[in-house]
């Protein structure tokens, strides 16, 4: 079978799709703009719900990417994709590639928390994002504030950049609630005497074991949950952050001082996703993610024949769901490539 598939984006979706396509006997070229595959997975320390190490999953991803039919292009940006007699011509600026089908797996970016001026990210040192906190977990050892002090109180703000009219993102980013609960427990693990607070609007614990995580956070680790959206964060003279939130369950406004404020930033479609979508004239959803052909029965095809999408470039997803999504896309691609259509 001499069919070529070109995959744009070497994150979880792209790499897993590549693995499965290779197993099915196709030729695969995988282009990734960073210097390693795995995408955002490489930034996470431990994954929900079981808190297993992300490196185990990353290793699994890399195992399938080998063989003579596989070509890996790292540090490569895709500048243009055009149709050429039944297939596609993809150019990266330094080289051109031919393919019979294209899979877009360009993924997501995290929301730029500087846009929420009222939280003071980028202005007050002790306000960090969940991505930065995860990087600290990866480094290991205790968590310190940017100035090197041990925080006695840590606050997690849910829904930063998601479910927010003011920044234009109405949708829920799905995974931030369970990530906040996971990170709250991880903070308590390294700083057992600290107090940890999660400020939420709703707690979206949709997965099978997620409610158990919530229960464990309350029961075993003593994480406090305050239902209310943080309205503003300001700095005290000692650098600690004073936040104002309504304790909606008590019906009264509340103010408290935290030493470290962690913003749970949501998903936005990545710059690569938006770019590729424009190059290929793909349809976008109102939220600016890539739009699949059908919301139930075919979320892998697009309005462009031969162009397929997988992973978080179409909607926020957990890693488990991204794996499933990539494999399903592979099946769709296989069916497309084995179709006997004259003059294709």
């Amino acid at each position: 079978m001499n069919k070529y598939v070109f995959i744009v984006g070497g994150g979880v979706a792209g790499a897993e799709a590549a693995s499965q396509l290779l197993k099915l006997g196709f030729n695969v070229t995988l282009a990734e703009k960073e210097s390693q595959v795995g995408g955002k997975l490489n930034q996470w320390d431990r994954l929900f719900p079981s808190k297993r190490k992300s490196t185990e999953v990353a290793r699994f991803l890399a195992e399938g990417l080998s063989g003579n039919n596989f070509r890996l292009l790292l540090n490569t940006d895709i500048l243009n994709i055009e149709r050429t007699n039944g297939g596609f011509s993809i150019s990266s600026g330094t080289a051109k590639f031919q393919a019979d089908a294209v899979l877009i797996a360009t993924g997501y970016d995290v929301f730029d928390a500087r846009i929420k001026e009222e939280y003071g990210y980028g202005i007050y040192e002790n306000v960090i994002t969940s991505v930065e906190l995860e990087a600290r977990f990866k480094e290991g050892g205790k968590i310190f504030t940017p100035k090197g002090q041990e925080p006695k109180r840590i606050g997690f703000v849910h829904c930063v950049g998601s479910r927010d009219e003011k920044v234009g993102n109405h949708y829920c980013s799905q995974v931030c609630c369970v990530t906040a609960v996971k990170q709250a427990m991880e903070v308590k693990e390294v700083l057992p005497r600290s107090e940890v607070f999660c400020f939420y609007m709703d707690l979206r614990m949709f997965g099978l074991q997620f409610e158990d995580l919530y229960r464990e956070a309350q029961e075993k680790w003593g994480v406090n949950f305050i239902r209310g959206r943080v309205s503003e964060a300001a700095e005290n003279i000692d650098g600690s952050i004073l936040i104002k939130v309504e304790d909606t369950l008590a019906g009264r406004p509340l103010k408290m001082k935290v030493d470290l404020l962690v913003l749970m930033v949501g998903f936005v479609p990545s710059a690569g996703t938006q770019n590729i979508g424009k190059i290929l004239n793909l349809e976008f959803t109102p939220e600016k993610f890539l739009k699949p052909s059908d919301e139930h029965i075919d979320t892998y095809s697009t309005n462009q024949k031969g162009v397929f999408i997988a992973g978080t470039c179409k909607a926020p997803k957990t890693i488990t769901d991204t794996f499933a999504d990539a494999r399903a896309a592979v099946l769709k691609i296989k069916q497309y490539l084995e179709e006997d259509v004259p003059g294709k």
């Binding site: 001026e117 009222e118 003071g120 202005i123 040192e125 300001a234 005290n236």
Partner: protein, 357 residues
């Protein structure tokens, strides 16, 4: 504090301020409480910077205070403001500047309403024609008087003789800046620096040698708000707002507070007296209180004017400790003398706040 983060925010909220040929709308209550402020503004802009500023003797209140107390309906306010525009158009000007921050807020709100709902503008034109026979053109540029001082702050610095530094220690004076709510909270893009981190007063203080303090209740309203203040029984709400701000800024030990709204100035100044009488508490060392200055008074001090010409004897919280800190030479004996050297009378001494003679 990462200052680069703030600078990024400030750069996103810049606005166009006209260069010259201003039509000045005065404030209803300002001249009673802060005499000399508007005069100082005109002196700086007209005499020192040689700009063309006029005002019309026929101009009235903008009725912002009535609108915000539900006493005047919005249609009336729109018509009165339209009459101010008409006065401006008749004199051949198109740049309007207001002294009061509520005027600025009301006029901005009206202009935005007319922009989004053109039928309201048409209706206002009709009302004005029926009531007074005047016609008007919408101003080309609307700015608040503090925007103008902000725009020319570097020129004021060059012409000025004083700096906002402690004359004895050489350290920068620590300044709290307070912006009137109507400046940018409703329409963040109409204020320099936006709503979260307004820059108009920070720019002035920093260029004039001072240091600005960021404190947790920076955004909090002073409590003036018109409607709650006018009824005496509601004033507990207003004073609690100001008290909250003071409690929050106390830890930073500011030298003075600068504001650009007449109501805020009034409250921050007078409520310190009331809080000191009610609870015995002041927010500075040795019961001096924190002096509140309008931006024109600060500009005037930087320019080298005499504090008593700026009307600073009318402040409830005495400004002498600050003037001594800055090394301003003034004659304390002339405080309550008028231009001819006759006594103007003097106030009663408060129980708690220090008051110099």
């Amino acid at each position: 504090m990462i200052i680069e983060g703030k600078k990024t925010v400030w750069s996103q909220y810049q606005k166009n301020i006209a260069d010259d040929h201003y039509f000045y709308i005065r404030s209803c209550i300002r001249q009673n409480l802060w005499p000399g402020s508007e005069t100082a503004f005109l002196r700086i802009i007209r005499d020192e910077l040689r700009k063309d500023v006029i005002e019309d003797a026929n101009h009235t209140t903008c009725t912002g205070i009535g609108y915000h107390t539900d006493v005047v309906p919005i249609e009336t306010t729109m018509t009165v403001v339209a009459r101010l525009f008409a006065l401006m158009t008749e004199r051949g000007y198109e740049n309007m500047i207001t002294s009061c921050i509520t005027s600025f807020g009301v006029i901005t709100e009206i202009l935005e309403t007319w922009h989004e709902f053109p039928e309201t503008e048409a209706r206002t034109r009709e009302f004005l024609k029926k009531a007074t026979g005047r016609k008007f053109k919408v101003p080309h540029n609307l700015a608040h008087a503090s925007d103008i001082i902000y725009k020319f702050r570097k020129e004021i610095k060059e012409k000025g003789t004083r700096s906002l530094v402690n004359a004895n220690t050489g350290e920068k004076l620590r300044v709290v800046e307070h912006i009137g709510c109507h400046y940018s909270k409703m329409f963040p893009h109409k204020g320099i620096g936006g709503a979260e981190f307004p820059y108009v007063l920070i720019g002035m203080i920093e260029d004039w040698g001072g240091e600005v303090i960021d404190y947790p209740e920076r955004r909090h309203c002073c409590g003036f708000g018109f409607r709650q203040y006018l009824v005496k029984a509601n004033r507990g709400f207003s004073i609690a707002c100001t008290k909250k701000k003071f409690e929050s800024m106390e830890q930073f030990k500011p030298d003075f507070i600068i504001t650009n709204c007449p109501g805020c100035n009034y409250f921050l100044d007078r409520w310190q007296y009331v809080i000191s009488e009610m609870e015995g508490k002041t927010y500075s060392e040795n019961n001096d209180g924190i002096p509140i200055l309008t931006y024109e008074e600060v500009a005037g001090l930087v320019m080298g004017y005499d504090p008593w010409d700026l009307g600073m004897q009318m402040h409830q919280v005495g400004v002498e400790p600050l003037l001594d800190k800055m090394g301003v030479d003034y004659d304390p004996k002339k405080k309550y003398l008028d231009k001819n050297g006759n006594s103007m009378g003097s106030p009663e001494k408060p129980n708690v706040l220090n008051f110099c003679c």
